[in-house]
Amino acid sequence: MPAWKILNRIKERFAAAVERTDVPANNRLFVHVRPGDLREVCRHVFRDMDARYVISIGWDDRPHSGGFVVSHHFSFDKAGVLCCVLVRLPGDHPKVDSVSEIIPGANWAEREFQDLLGICPEGHPWPKRLVLPDGWPEGVHPLRKDVAWNHVPEGYNHDAEHRFEDPPPGCVVVPFGPFHPTLDEPEHFRLYVEGEFVRGCEYRGFMVHRGIEKLGDSVLTYNDIPMAAERICGICGSVHNVAYAQAVEQAAALGVPLRAEYVRTIMLELERLHSHLLWVGLACHIVGFDTLFMQSFRIREPVMWMAEKISGNRKTYALCVIGGVRWEITHDLKDEMRAMLKTLEKEWLAVAGAVKGDRNLQKRTKGIGVTSKELVKEMGLVGPIARAAGVNIDCRRDLPYAAYDKVDFDVVVHEGGDVWSRVLVRVLEVFESIRIIRQCLDRMPDGPLQAKLNGELPVGRLGVSSVEAPRGESHHMVVTGENNRPRRWRVRAPTYQNLQGIPAMIKDQRLADMTISLGSIDPCFSCTDRVETLDIRTGGSQVYTQTELLQMTRQR
């Protein structure tokens, strides 16, 4: 179903509400609606048309149109269309109807633009500060255009501590983080524990919020941003890099040479390989199985060497510039890569064979951290977490980019929904990645690496792009702008959504399972936190059913 058909269906219902529409391509749809009808339109798209919620983004458009803009992004995975529902808001005291009641997964996103832009989500169930540091005074919003990127407001309180809610009665508070051996990244969970069972948690994250988006729209330029973008996350850097470049290219309607598309695909899959191998290792480390941790890192190391040979660095590949890539893959490298893939496949086959029957490992992972299909839908969970719960989504197939529409691969789906299913999904995806890289190596054409660009990029255009990171869909939006830099660049990393599903996953689990449940989403806090601070809370010590829990996440 192409974009215009979806548009027609929206228009049928809300003819009066739609102010302006834009269909730049068959797979992109921008619908501007009246602020008053936003909630109903979103409900229709999310519930009746069964779209997947991606993210909500706000930006300061005052220098150009005198107001703010808020955009809710949805994905029609079966039709392969990204749909953005936009509203324009006034320049003073911007307010927008909150959609968190309808879409629980929008909770963080709305609090984020409340923090960073001062757009008030009216009717939000729990508008607590999410992103900004605790000592940050009210009323200063760093992403507004009139605030400099290095502006630290007066009244910043260095001694402020986060104000946590009181634990439910009968529960002990177990602080988890900010420095915990399994987390590797600073995040703070306050677990409410009763005996050995976790009854709820409050999350104070966004400690890795480095203000990257602000840098992107005020200091860096179009071609610097890929370098910053890949440092959003050290493991899936290339994903952000490519997603950003694609968003800009899409906004500017810039074609990329076919060869560059293949190079991007290869690097993305290489990244998936080393990320999945890493994850299997780390998951084993979390449950104390250090030998398999060591072995999967041993198997992974040649992949890192390969990446270093292609791009000159093991992690941050500095791969993309707008309109192409910087590194070519020569014939020698192709041969080396094939040899590397061959040994990798052999060794991983042995590991997969051994792990599948390992009851000791299964005991620690089966029935742990269960997600249901409903939770996936409500919270917008993506990637292996969704696929392990039987939800068949994969951007590589649904919203094809780079050279993914030119290669064959299967999307690995499992029904279990628990940590063990996620282990299996990831173990099997390694083989799919190997398959994709092999096809790319065979089919890569010759040609230029970068497109020739004449003149400046058009201004004020919107580009959105989704890339399937090892952890799930990574979504970038760019509004092109003046001075050779975007007006707004927003990153939605997969962990941003997946993390919101954690309270439901760890509820009433044993404390010992908390780490592996959290680890199973392959959390990448640095991705999530580019911008500010947050709390999730599911409290109470009685047992909740799934529906009640969802109800609660909506309230909070």
Binding site: D184, L215, F297, M304
Partner: protein, 180 residues
Amino acid sequence: MSILQNLCQQLFKRSLWVYHANSGGCNGCDIEVLNVLTPYYDVERFGIKLVGSPRHADVMLCQGPAMRSTGKALRRAYEAMPAPKLVFAIGSCACGGGIWHDTYSVLGPVEKILPVSYYIPGCPPRPEAIIYGVAVALGVVDKKSAPVKFKQMELAIPRYHPEDLKEENGMVVYQKCEKI
């Protein structure tokens, strides 16, 4: 007692327990630090071990810039370590603050909060670079870098040859200038 303390200092060469604290970096350095523990690099052969509590640690590996939100926690972790203790800054973010060294939520390099003893630049540093940094710290190898300064002696563009670089007061100075 002081004999034991002396011995302890000496034994750092043979036994070094590290605690790694990511104060807000991108994960890249984290994974590389994990990587040096794994079969190909295996720093355990130098007696280096990763520990989970700062109380057990001799060295704190800092990755990521000092953030406004984690600065205090980082400081607390440092204070929890028993003396003698070292701090290593790993990666561009910890050494210099990275691309975001001056944004609203970043304080800057970790040396703003902690006394850094050794710097290991790189983004991320390869595992070998980390091992090298540890080796420098333990005095196994000598450091190789020194600040480079080119100065104009005459009003002409010099043509430089690497062999004309001379060390002077711990700096490499280009001495010989040649008129074109």
